[in-house]
């Protein structure tokens, strides 16, 4: 005899198809083992329903008032924060850092490659006439090689940019965190 243990819970919960339901009913008529097992599921269900809810919950008027109070607090918290437009400031700053960093890397790479080519005996000026101009101007006026100049400027500007970014991002992250908690973690218990 094939038992139907795997279908008994779904049978109890009314989740079987009509065909399966008939199959289980028919089997239960002739199998005391499965009947006993079904009885256990039913008894467990009855036992669980015996567990009462505490009677210590607030009356419905008080509950409604407490919800209203939390709603007004939430609205007040939101009103304290500026709109989404303020997200633009740190995002733009970050974009500026990334763009300038990219530019320096690009320029530094080009100059470095050009100098390396010069050391290898390749006449870069013949391929790229502007290089002669850049090398002559930067070398004579500032008395710095292009590589040194780019390095100095890169480091100085990046330090300034990084400091500015940190100065903006630290309060920004704190603000976003507070905003997030006020809108997503409002369920964390607050003292009334």
């Amino acid at each position: 005899m094939l038992h139907v243990n795997h279908l008994l819970e779904a049978y109890h919960d009314g989740e079987l198809s009509p065909g399966q339901h008939r199959q289980v009913e028919s089997h239960l008529g002739e199998c005391s083992t499965c009947r006993d097992e079904l009885e256990q599921v039913r008894q467990l269900s009855a036992l669980l329903r015996e567990v009462p809810l505490p009677d210590a919950f607030s009356a419905h008027q008080l509950f409604g008032a407490q919800v209203a109070l939390r709603l007004s607090r939430r609205q007040a918290e939101r009103a304290r924060y500026p709109g989404a437009a303020w997200h633009v400031v740190p995002v733009l700053l970050l974009c500026g850092v990334v763009a300038l960093q990219g530019l320096f890397v690009l320029v530094g790479g080009i100059v470095g490659l050009a100098q390396m080519a010069g050391r290898l005996g390749i006449d870069v000026g013949a391929w790229w006439p502007t290089w002669n101009l850049v090398e002559a101007q930067l070398g004579s006026v500032l008395r710095l090689s292009p590589t040194s100049l780019v390095t100095v400027l890169s480091v100085a500007l990046m330090v300034v940019l990084y400091l500015a970014t940190i100065a903006v991002f630290v309060p920004y992250v704190g603000w976003v965190r507070t905003l997030w908690r006020s809108t997503h973690d409002g369920w964390v218990r607050k003292e009334v």
Binding site: E37, Q40, L48, E50, V51, D55, H60, V67, G186, W187
Partner: protein
């Protein structure tokens, strides 16, 4: 006798969103709170096992529902949506709660009665409640939605956003554990 037709959930949601004044919106939403607060508290309590925490979760569930009311689809099932938010918040509350409620204390607790009035039935209820609280919160939530709220497997899957197979396996696992723990109370 005239019977005044109660507004449907969708009508109350629409009124909350379209009300021209804050008072009007609050009044419409307040009706939804009154309609469902027992349901939400009940689910939260069964999942959390702590009356104060459950009430806290229930109140904040309504606050969250209010703040996301504009996301509710006009053809949606408000009750299911509310249950989804409330159960997820209750599960989160259980996971984040520190320190954990002492399970052994739960077994002794007889809600609404003093120790001297604890009859055999409430003692048994305490043992059952403690066994329930020892279940993993995911399985317990599914069992609660099935046994106390009589949701179908499909409805539970929708509320918790889990596959149907997960509902079946966790429900079966929860019942298997409880049967093992409560064998003394099951006669068959």
């Amino acid at each position: 006798m005239h019977s005044v037709a109660q507004p449907t959930d969708r009508e109350l949601v629409a009124q909350s969103l379209r009300a021209s004044s804050a008072e009007g919106a609050s009044a419409a939403f307040g009706k939804l709170v009154m309609r469902y607060h027992k349901l939400v508290i009940s689910v939260a309590y069964r999942v959390c096992g702590d009356a104060a925490l459950a009430e806290d979760v229930a109140q904040d569930a309504f606050v969250r529902v209010w703040s996301r009311l504009s996301e509710f689809r006009p053809d949606g099932n408000f009750r299911a949506w509310l249950m989804r938010i409330a159960t997820n918040m209750a599960i989160d509350a259980v996971r984040k709660r520190r320190p954990q409620v002492d399970i052994e204390d739960l077994a002794l607790e007889a809600p609404g009665q003093g120790p001297e009035g604890a009859a055999m039935s409430s003692e048994r209820a305490g043992v059952v409640r403690a066994a329930l609280m020892r279940l993993p919160v995911e399985s317990r939530t599914i069992l609660v939605l099935r046994e106390y709220q009589s949701l179908s497997y499909r409805e539970i899957a929708d509320v918790l956003d889990v596959p149907l197979g997960t509902v079946k396996s966790r429900l079966s696992d929860a019942r298997r554990r409880l049967k093992a723990e409560l064998t003394g109370y099951l006669s068959a």
